[in-house]
């Protein structure tokens, strides 16, 4: 077992463990913190997959942006409601059965798909290639993404403003 493999599995364990904690912990605030851990672990997995740029994006946008946003939201709503938010769950057995069934379905597909092809050697400069793609063939999609973000920003402002 190489170091990379060992590192991957360790990261995977962290990822799965923090994910479970996200959906199981009764404290919403803890839940958000565990989500941050899970997102960082995902980013590390991106590193294992030779995508350092995405690791950066993941840290900045998700672990930074999203988590901060959610914490703000929680604190805001708690201020409005004036009490701590409960984070109870319900229908655990049903949820577990359905989730497990979906998991089995996906893995079943993976098994049936047969052995994957051998991995290509990693690209020499992924970030540069990504940049070329963004301003090249996918420029229009990228611009549209910008529009979407602006629209989402405006929408969020509209919903959240005091009136």
């Amino acid at each position: 077992m190489t170091a990379a493999t060992l590192g991957f599995w360790a990261t995977a364990v962290v990822l799965l463990g923090s994910s479970l904690a996200v959906v199981l912990t009764p404290n919403l605030f803890h839940s958000v913190l565990f989500l941050a851990v899970a997102l960082v672990a995902t980013g590390v997995i991106f590193l294992f997959l030779a995508a350092p740029f995405l690791f950066g994006a993941q840290l900045l946008l998700y672990a930074g942006g999203v988590v901060v946003l959610v914490v703000f939201a929680i604190m805001l709503t708690e201020k409005i409601v004036g009490q701590r938010i409960r984070q109870a769950s319900h229908g655990l057995v049903n949820g577990a059965i359905v989730a497990a069934a979906v998991f089995v379905g996906i893995v079943g597909f993976l098994v049936q798909a047969g052995p994957p092809p051998a991995a290509r050697p990693p690209l020499s400069d992924v970030t540069a290639a990504l940049g070329r793609e963004i301003v090249g063939p996918y420029a229009a999609a990228f611009e549209l993404l910008g529009v979407l973000l602006v629209a989402a920003l405006l929408g969020a402002l509209y919903f959240a403003r005091e009136d």
């Binding site: 359905v98 069934a101 979906v102 379905g105 079943g108 597909f109 049936q112």
Partner: protein, 606 residues
């Protein structure tokens, strides 16, 4: 052909005017004069056409089809249709004039309706006669059937009239079903409806013969329905519920002869199927005898005439079937004249005494001598007494049947001729010479000139036609010498028996009735045919209808109710699924994904 178009178009124009111009229709008398004026011109044109030498066919395409029109319309003027034009316009005109007096008590709007129907009928009958194709003939055939229905049911508030109208309509429709099936089959076999083309094929022997017997039998069914041949004759006596002039025009002189006309028209096709011809002859003779026996025991003067009409139609059909259609057609023309005369005379009598029952009349000779003379002229003609019109046409028929070698038919017809004289003179003796039975409150009197005029005209015509043949001796038939003697002897025998029973009362009626008790019993009950039809209707048709009704009410409706209730319940159940909880919808999505997994397994390519 322009004058033919005028003959056809004037009644139509009159019908349209009366039917569409409301003020005219509401003033029935004015509508009547419109119709009469149109018919006078039409009659003049018809006479000109008949006497002129123009004969021929005009054909126009109607329904387009691949390789020439599928069906055509047009006018066919030949020696068959030209005299029919005169007969139809003449009798129509006289009947319309007569009706003006006969129906003078009717409310004016109702009378307008009557004249609209009359004009439509004249148009339809002329169109039927002039049709150069089977299809066009069928259209007009149905139109005259419609007019017949409308006019029988003219007094539609009377239940009996409404029922009789329906009965006439349905009974003839039964035959018409055969007719339309026949001509469609004929078309599919030959590709044409046109008489000319069909007859040419028959002459050149290019007509496909297999199946022709069936086709011609079906066409004969139509003729049998219209011309009241056994067993479809039951509607005609009931049709007497209509006004008497209508009976004279439609149910004696013109429409009911359409069947005979059809057989005469289709003669070149019928000769190819001798089996059907033999059937026509036998059924005709049987119908003649059957109707005559019923006429002998009937007490309703109009019904006697109706049975006599059926009987005479049987004569014509028998002649057509025995290979002498021209004799049958000749009888059709003369019969049209003197039967119209008889009906209109009977109408005058009914008008005077206010009843149809001959046993409540009697002694009318003293108060209505003119009507009496007229009625007796008609009776003599119908009985076939020389030198009146009926003698020659009936002799022609007997000669034709004899020449055709149908001795059985001949004997039946001869017997019928005897009965004809008997029952007609029975009516005459009871009605005009019987001992003055009480007439009720009515004071019998001669009819007004508007009724007398047509009567006299028809009487004169009956005599004149007869004299024309008596003097001219014309006609292409040269019957054996003994036939005239036989005819006269039969007529005289019938007259004598009637006189002995009802005139001089030498022979009591019972003495004749008792040996013939079975026939008397059956004839008085119309041989139970109406009862049988009624039983069939009630038993089979109503039973079937009830079955269908039950199926509709319980099975079909039940199915629909179950479906609708199921839809409602399912909708209600599905509504409950919509909990409004987002997570329930996520469950739905998850189950959908799982379902897709299963489906993918199911249909995985091996």
């Amino acid at each position: 052909m322009a004058s033919v178009l005028l003959v056809l178009g004037l009644p139509l124009a009159s019908f349209l005017a009366i039917a569409l111009v409301r003020p005219l229709r509401r003033r029935g008398r004015a509508a009547g004069w419109v119709g009469i004026t149109a018919m006078i011109v039409a009659l003049a044109e018809a006479l000109r056409t008949w006497l002129g030498s123009t004969r021929g066919t005009v054909i126009l395409p109607w329904l387009p089809g691949d390789g020439g029109p599928m069906a055509t319309v047009g006018l066919l003027l030949d020696d068959l249709s030209a005299p029919m034009l005169v007969l139809v316009t003449l009798v129509s005109l006289l009947v319309q004039m007569y009706s003006l007096a006969y129906l003078h008590d009717e409310p004016m709007p109702s009378l307008g309706r009557y004249y609209a129907y009359q004009s439509l009928f004249a148009f339809s009958m002329l169109g039927l006669v002039l049709s150069p194709t089977y299809l066009q003939m069928f259209v007009f055939w149905e139109l005259v059937g419609l007019c017949s229905y409308l006019l029988i049911g003219y007094w539609y508030t009377r239940p009996a009239a409404a029922r009789a109208a329906l009965k006439a309509f349905w009974t003839t429709k039964l035959g018409d079903l055969g007719f339309i099936a026949g001509i469609v089959m004929l078309w599919s076999a030959t590709g044409t409806f046109e008489f000319d083309a069909l007859f040419r094929m028959a002459r050149e022997q290019t007509l496909p013969l297999e199946g022709l017997a069936t086709i011609m039998f079906l066409i004969y069914l139509g003729a049998a329905g219209k011309s009241a041949q056994f067993p479809l004759h039951v509607w005609l006596p009931d049709a007497m519920e209509g006004p008497t002039p209508v009976s004279a025009l439609i149910h004696a002189a013109t429409m009911v002869t359409a069947g005979v006309f059809l057989v005469a028209r289709s003669e070149p096709l019928f000769v190819l199927v001798p089996g059907v011809l033999a059937l026509i002859a036998r059924v005709g003779a049987f119908t003649a005898l059957l109707a005559a026996t019923m006429a002998c025991v009937e007490s309703d003067i109009k019904r006697v005439l109706a049975y006599s009409t059926i009987s005479q139609l049987g004569f014509m059909m028998a002649a057509a079937g025995a290979g002498a259609p021209d004799a049958g057609f000749f009888h059709l023309l003369t019969h049209g004249v003197f039967k119209a005369l008889l009906f209109l005379g009977a109408g005058a009598v009914i008008h005077a005494v206010g009843t149809n029952d001959i046993f409540r009349m009697g002694g009318l000779w003293r108060v209505m001598p003119q009507t009496g003379v007229i009625f007796i002229v008609g009776t003599l003609a119908l009985a076939g007494v020389w030198p009146l019109a009926g003698f020659f046409s009936k002799e022609a028929i007997l000669a034709g049947v004899w020449a055709g070698g149908r001795s059985g038919v001949f004997v039946v017809l001869a017997l019928t001729a005897f009965l004809t004289a008997f029952y007609m003179f029975r009516v005459v003796f009871i009605t005009f010479f019987g001992h003055g039975h009480p007439h009720g409150e009515a004071h019998p009197h001669e009819p007004p000139w508007l009724m007398r005029g047509p009567l006299w005209l028809l009487a004169v015509l009956t005599v004149a036609i007869g004299l024309r043949f008596a003097i001219g001796g014309g006609g292409e038939h040269h019957p054996p010498g003994w036939l005239a003697a036989l005819s006269l002897a039969l007529a005289a025998g019938g007259f004598g028996l009637a006189w002995a029973m009802y005139g001089a009362r030498w022979i009591p009626v019972e003495a004749v009735r008792r040996p013939l008790a079975v026939i008397d019993f059956l004839a008085r009950r119309r041989y139970f045919l109406d009862a049988i039809y009624g039983a069939i209707y009630r038993g089979v048709m109503l039973g079937f209808a009830r079955l269908i009704g039950w199926i509709d009410r319980y099975l079909v409706d039940g199915l629909l109710n179950v479906a609708s209730a199921g839809t409602l319940r399912a909708g209600d159940a599905l509504r409950r699924i919509q909990s409004g909880q987002a997570q329930d919808y996520v469950y739905g999505v998850a189950f959908g994904v799982l379902f897709l997994f299963v489906l993918a397994q199911w249909w995985r390519t091996p």
